[in-house]
């Protein structure tokens, strides 16, 4: 019997869905092997998340408390995860593949002298380590990669697994963590967040994504109204981030975020490989584009060839009034 350590990220009082998905995969593997599933949460108030984590099956919850965890800064996150890993002595560590995790995963693997399988679409534990499927070369191919040096650190792409509830009696343990902010070499000077209240695109079940066909403020308003109607998050292609219509935090693709929602509505998006690399795992894809030859139609579950400025208002009306 070994230990599996799952890292839980939080936002706006809840555990992020991507973390619960990775935790669920960790729980499935722990069950198969009779391992203990330990979750670790870093927060100024970690106890807020204990009940939710227990609902997803972690029997032990490490709470690491520090005011610095209100924002992401790599040094304290690394120190806390190193400490949690020393205590849990896991064979396997699972992470959501978020920007915060991408920043620290390599460094943490060196500290723990482990091997890493980053940004995986699926993985299994093996006798000697773990084996994963990773999209590579702009998600044109899958590489089957084996890590044979324990502990193995695995980060899981958003949507690769579903988060499943599996309530257990959990033991919450506070891990002493006296990180001195005066030792920090780097300073976080400012955070420029997009407007508050917007749904994080990598957490949403429905994503409305805007591409080059969305040319102006009017088009942007249509996208926002459609997203409001469906309770969806707004994503974008590189073109409309560069044009300044949409924030960089919404960009989906090889460079931006990887999403795999239940429903992805691509509006005015042609489907360049760099964009597809970030959304190909979506369950249902709807494409709306003027150009019948746009590559996005080859992967769309449902396609509509038409002008988004005509189609979207009708779609909003249909959804509101049936």
């Amino acid at each position: 019997m070994g230990n599996i350590l799952a890292y839980i990220e939080t936002q706006d009082e809840v555990c992020k869905r991507s973390s619960l998905e990775a935790l669920t995969r960790g729980r499935q593997i722990a069950e198969q092997r009779g391992d203990r599933l330990v979750a670790v949460v870093l927060s100024p108030e970690p106890e807020r998340y204990v009940a939710q984590i227990a609902r997803y099956g972690a029997s032990t919850i490490f709470m690491v408390r520090h005011s610095l965890f209100a924002n992401h800064l790599n040094t304290p996150v690394l120190a806390a995860l190193e400490e949690a890993a020393r205590r849990a002595a896991p064979d396997l560590l699972v992470f959501p593949s978020s920007e915060s995790v991408k920043e620290i995963l390599g460094a943490l693997s060196i500290r723990l002298d482990g091997s890493v399988l980053p940004d995986v679409a699926a993985f299994e534990q093996t006798e000697t380590g773990a084996e994963a499927l990773r999209p590579v070369l702009a998600a044109k191919f899958l590489a089957r990669v084996r890590a044979e040096h324990k502990p193995v650190l695995v980060s899981v792409r958003s949507g690769a697994y579903s988060a499943e509830e599996h309530p257990v009696e959990a033991q919450a343990e506070e891990i002493p963590f006296d990180f001195d902010p005066a030792t920090l070499k780097q300073t976080l000077r400012e955070i420029r967040a997009p407007q508050v209240g917007t749904v994080d695109v990598s957490e949403a079940r429905i994503v409305i994504a805007a591409g080059r066909g969305v040319r102006d403020e009017r088009g942007k308003q249509l996208i926002e109204e459609l997203a409001d109607t469906l309770g969806a998050a707004i994503g974008s292609s590189r073109a409309v981030v560069e044009s300044g219509l949409f924030p960089a935090s919404s960009q989906i693709g090889q460079t931006g975020k990887v999403v795999a929602p239940d429903l992805y509505i691509a509006v005015g998006i042609s489907g360049a490989i760099q964009h597809v690399a970030g959304m190909a795992g979506s369950r249902v894809i709807v494409a709306i584009n003027k150009d019948a030859d746009a590559p996005i139609f080859r992967m769309a579950t449902y396609g509509i060839v038409g002008d988004l400025y005509d189609i979207i208002p009708r779609l909003i009306d249909q959804l509101k009034n049936g």
Binding site: A107, F141, A143, R192, L263, I273, V284, L315
Partner: protein, 249 residues
């Protein structure tokens, strides 16, 4: 400031790449400078042009990667080091080789692409920072220098974080931060005379921590359908299909 930029040669992801059995066959004529590394080179050039300093590039790769080094020199880097290796390494292998070389080098800023387009692993940068005990920031979309400190705008999960780093430090760069310059003829001619220091490198002994066992095609999506007809009718059918067939609404 002195910038050292770590670069890698990768297959051009826009070129035809085929699967032959379990291996990837890339057209060897289409090996290019990793796009994220090109952005790191560009940003280092922009900052040294503005504030003074120099840009040096380091590449760990096979003999055939010289062409990629010349590309970075043609963009404007002053000199280069080629850490010559034969086989393919995993992220840890590259990080160890680069760290072993860079320990003896002096620099203010060590810049890398945030990931390489062939593996999209994105590990080498932070591994290198850890091996060299450097403060670092990842996924930079903007860089500046103020009072000898590096100001990094990094794209985080929720928004952009502005981080101030002392030097020496490491930063990994997104390709969203600039459009790398295309070398002009003068740059290409000058690059031929620039110095490339070649170092034969001992590859790490022992088995690599991770190995690619095989490549597989992406699973095909179920063929979809185009909804034809009048816009009003098409939209009504779409909503109905999303509710009753796909069951996502």
């Amino acid at each position: 400031m002195k910038f050292v930029v770590c670069i890698k040669q990768v297959p051009d992801v826009a070129s035809p790449i085929q699967l032959s059995g379990e291996r990837i066959v890339t057209d060897t004529g289409r090996l290019v400078l990793n796009a994220y590394d090109a952005s790191a080179v560009e940003e280092a050039l922009v900052l040294t042009e503005k504030y003074g300093g120099e840009v040096h590039v380091v590449l760990a790769g096979p003999a055939t990667a010289t062409e990629t080094i010349r590309k970075a020199l043609a963009m404007g880097a002053e000199s280069a080091t080629h850490l010559k290796i034969d086989g393919e390494l995993d992220s840890r292998g590259y990080a160890e080789i680069l760290a072993a070389h860079l320990r003896a080098e002096s620099f203010d800023v060590l810049a890398c692409g945030k990931q390489a387009q062939d593996t999209d692993a994105g590990l080498t940068g932070s591994m290198l920072a850890e091996l060299l005990s450097l403060p670092y920031a990842g996924n930079a979309v903007g860089l500046d220098i103020v009072n000898d400190r590096l100001i990094v705008t990094r794209q985080g999960d929720g928004g952009q974080e502005i981080i101030e780093l002392p030097t020496p430090c490491l930063v990994t760069c997104s390709n969203d931060m600039n459009d790398p310059r295309i070398p002009n003829l003068k740059g290409i001619m000058q690059a031929k005379r620039k110095n490339i220091q070649v170092v034969e490198v001992e590859e790490p002994t022992g088995p690599p921590a991770t190995t690619i066992r095989r490549f597989e095609p992406m699973p095909e999506r179920e063929p979809g359908r185009i909804l034809d007809g009048e816009p009003a009718d098409v939209v009504a059918r779409l909503v109905s299909l999303l509710k009753t067939e796909a069951k996502v609404l």
